[in-house]
C-alpha cells in the first residue's frame, strides 16, 4: 500500500530531468573544451581546431574517442583502489551540484506542473557547498594515490587552496542570504525577479564569489594543482586514458555548474531584465523554454569569461594565492557582510 501511495509520475519526471541535466552537463562540458580551444586560438591570433568537421565541431568527439582508446596505465606503486576512486569522485561531485539549480520556470505538461529543478530543497546553498567541498577529495585522493611527488605536491596545494577559498566564498554569499532570508534556490531567484538582481546590491560580493569560483574550478590564475610549468600537470600526471578524461571533464563540468550557480545567485537565473515575461501572454511551456535559453546564455557568458581570463593572465605563486585568500578576500567578504547587515538594519527602521 505504501508503494502505491507514492507519486510514481513525480519519480519518473525527476528521473527524466536528472538524465537530461546530466546529459546536458556532459554535452556542454564537451563543447566547452572546444570553445576553450577556439577562444584561446582567437585570442592568440590563431584559428584553433578546424579539421574535424566544418569549423572543427567534431573535435570534442574525436578527443573523447581518442581518450577512450588510449592505453590505460595504472602505476605499479600506486594504490590501485584509490587511484580509480580519485577520478570517479571528481566526476561524481561535479555532476551532483547541478541538482539544486533552477533551470527555468515550471512547465505545464500532461496536466501536471513540472518543476525545472531537480530538487528544490530548503538548504539548496548548503547542499552546493557541501558537494563542492567533497570535490577536494577527487584531487587529493588522485594525487596521493599516484605515488608521485609532483602529484602529491599538487594535491596538497589543491586541497589547501580549495578549503581556503571556500571560506571566502561562503562569507561573500552570506550577504546575499541575508537579503533573501532563505537558503532555498527558488526563493533566491524569486527575490531577484521581484527586487532586481543581486549583482546590483552586492557587486563586491559577486567579485569575491567569482574569484573564489575560479579558484574552486582550478582555473588560471589559481591552477596551483595543475600548473604544468612547475608541477608537470600536477595531480593527474600519472593518469591516462578515460581516467584522465574524467579529471579534465570534471573541470569543465565544474566550470559550467559554477557559472550556473553564479547566474542563479547574482544574475537572476532565468529572469530577463526590464521585462515582465508574464505580460506576453505566452503559455507556461514557452516561457519555460525562453527562460531556459536565457539561463544558458548567461551561463555561456561566464564560461567565456573563465576562458578569457585563463588565456590572459599569469598564475599566482602559492603563498601569494594564500595571502590573497586569507588576508584580502576573507576580510573583504566580512566587511561586505557587516555593511550589508548595517544597511539592512537601518532600512528596516
Amino acid at each position: 500500500m505504501y508503494l502505491l501511495a507514492l507519486d510514481w509520475w513525480l519519480i519518473l519526471e525527476k528521473c527524466l530531468l536528472v538524465a537530461v541535466v546530466v546529459a546536458l552537463s556532459f554535452f556542454i562540458a564537451m563543447y566547452t573544451t572546444y570553445a576553450e580551444r577556439k577562444v584561446a586560438a582567437w585570442l592568440q591570433d590563431r584559428r584553433g581546431p578546424n579539421r574535424a568537421g566544418p569549423f572543427g565541431i567534431f573535435q570534442p568527439l574525436a578527443d573523447g574517442g581518442k581518450l577512450f582508446f588510449k592505453e590505460e596505465i595504472i602505476p605499479l606503486a600506486s594504490s590501485r583502489f584509490l587511484f580509480i576512486l580519485g577520478p570517479s569522485m571528481a566526476m561524481l561531485t561535479a555532476l551532483l551540484t547541478s541538482a539544486v539549480i533552477p533551470w527555468s520556470t515550471p512547465m505545464h505538461l500532461f496536466g501536471r506542473n513540472i518543476s525545472m529543478q531537480i530538487a528544490d530543497i530548503n538548504i539548496g546553498i548548503l547542499y552546493v557547498f557541501g558537494v563542492v567541498s567533497l570535490g577536494v577529495y577527487g584531487i587529493l585522493v588522485g594525487g596521493w594515490a599516484s605515488n608521485n611527488k609532483f602529484s602529491l605536491l599538487a594535491a596538497i596545494r589543491g586541497a589547501s587552496q580549495m578549503i581556503s577559498y571556500e571560506l571566502a566564498m561562503g562569507l561573500a554569499l552570506i550577504a546575499v542570504l541575508m537579503m533573501t532570508g532563505s537558503l532555498q534556490m527558488s526563493v533566491i531567484v524569486q527575490n531577484q525577479v521581484q527586487h532586481g538582481w543581486h549583482i546590483i546590491y552586492q557587486p563586491l560580493g559577486f567579485v569575491i564569489f567569482f574569484v573564489c569560483a575560479l579558484a574552486e574550478c582550478n582555473r588560471t590564475p589559481f591552477d596551483m594543482a595543475e600548473c604544468e610549468n612547475e608541477l608537470n600537470f600536477g595531480y593527474h600526471q600519472e593518469y591516462s586514458s578515460m581516467k584522465l578524461g574524467f579529471y579534465l571533464f570534471a573541470e569543465y563540468i565544474n566550470m559550467f555548474i559554477s557559472s550556473a550557480v553564479m547566474v542563479t545567485l547574482f544574475f537572476g537565473a532565468y529572469d530577463i531584465p526590464f521585462v515582465n515575461e508574464a505580460s506576453w501572454g505566452l503559455n507556461a511551456n514557452w516561457l519555460a523554454i525562453i527562460g531556459f535559453i536565457v539561463f544558458l546564455a548567461k551561463t555561456f557568458f561566464f564560461l567565456f569569461v573563465f576562458i578569457w581570463i585563463r588565456w590572459t593572465i599569469p598564475r599566482f605563486r602559492y603563498d601569494q594565492l594564500m595571502n590573497l585568500g586569507w588576508k584580502k578576500l576573507i576580510p573583504l567578504a566580512l566587511a561586505n557582510m557587516i555593511v550589508t547587515a548595517v544597511v539592512m538594519l537601518l532600512l528596516k527602521k
Binding site: W42, L43, D45, R46, R47, I309, L324
Partner: protein, 181 residues
C-alpha cells in the same frame, strides 16, 4: 667592473588598489579581447604553403645538363667540404654507349646524402666545380625510419629535361642553368 651607472627600478610596495589586482588584469584582458577578431597569422599548412626565399638552402638536387646527362663526375669535393660528413659516393668509369647518360668520363655510381646528418649549410654547392649539386627551395619530408632519410642517387636526381620536361622545370625552380657547367 662594478659601475655606478645602474638605474634603480621601481620597487614600491603595492598600493591598496593594486593589491586587489583588478585594474591591471582588466587592462590585460582588454588587450587579449582586442585580438579576438583580428587577422589570423596561421598558415593552413597542407592547403596553403609559404614560399621559401630564392636563396633558401633546402633539399639537395643532383643536376643534369640540358640534354639530360648527369653533371656529377664524382670528384668528391662536396664530400670533403661537408662539415657534417653526410655525403657518400662511389665513382666509376663511363663505358662507351653511356655518353647520353653521363657528361664526363667519370660518374657517380652511388651518391648518398644522409639528411639526418646534413646541416644544409650549402658548402657542397659552393664546392662543386661542375654545377652538379645545388640546394633547392624545399625541405626533406618526414619519414618513418632512419633508413628513409638516406637519400640515394635516384631520390636526388632532377627529372630528365627531355623525357619529363614539366617535372624538370618544376624541380629546377628559380635556378639558372649554366651553359658550360
Amino acid at each position: 667592473m662594478l659601475t655606478q651607472r645602474a638605474k634603480q627600478v621601481d620597487r614600491r610596495p603595492m598600493t591598496g588598489l593594486e593589491s586587489i589586482y583588478l585594474w591591471n588584469i582588466l587592462k590585460g584582458m582588454m588587450i587579449t579581447l582586442s585580438h579576438l577578431f583580428k587577422k589570423k597569422a596561421t598558415i593552413q599548412y597542407p592547403e596553403q604553403k609559404r614560399t621559401f626565399s630564392k636563396v633558401f638552402r633546402g633539399l639537395q638536387v643532383l643536376n643534369r645538363d640540358a640534354e639530360g646527362r648527369e653533371n656529377c663526375t664524382a670528384c668528391g669535393l662536396c664530400a670533403v667540404a661537408c662539415p657534417a660528413e653526410a655525403i657518400t659516393m662511389e665513382a666509376a668509369e663511363r663505358l662507351s654507349g653511356e655518353e647520353h647518360l653521363y657528361r664526363e668520363e667519370k660518374y657517380a655510381v652511388k651518391y648518398e646524402i644522409n639528411m639526418l646528418r646534413c646541416i644544409f649549410c650549402g658548402f657542397c654547392e659552393d664546392a662543386c666545380p661542375k654545377d652538379a649539386i645545388y640546394l633547392s627551395q624545399t625541405f626533406a619530408p618526414a619519414n618513418y625510419g632512419r633508413k628513409g632519410f638516406i637519400y640515394k642517387k635516384e631520390d636526388l636526381l632532377i627529372p630528365h629535361p627531355i623525357e619529363q620536361p614539366e617535372a624538370y622545370k618544376k624541380a629546377l625552380g628559380e635556378k639558372v642553368v649554366k651553359a658550360d657547367g
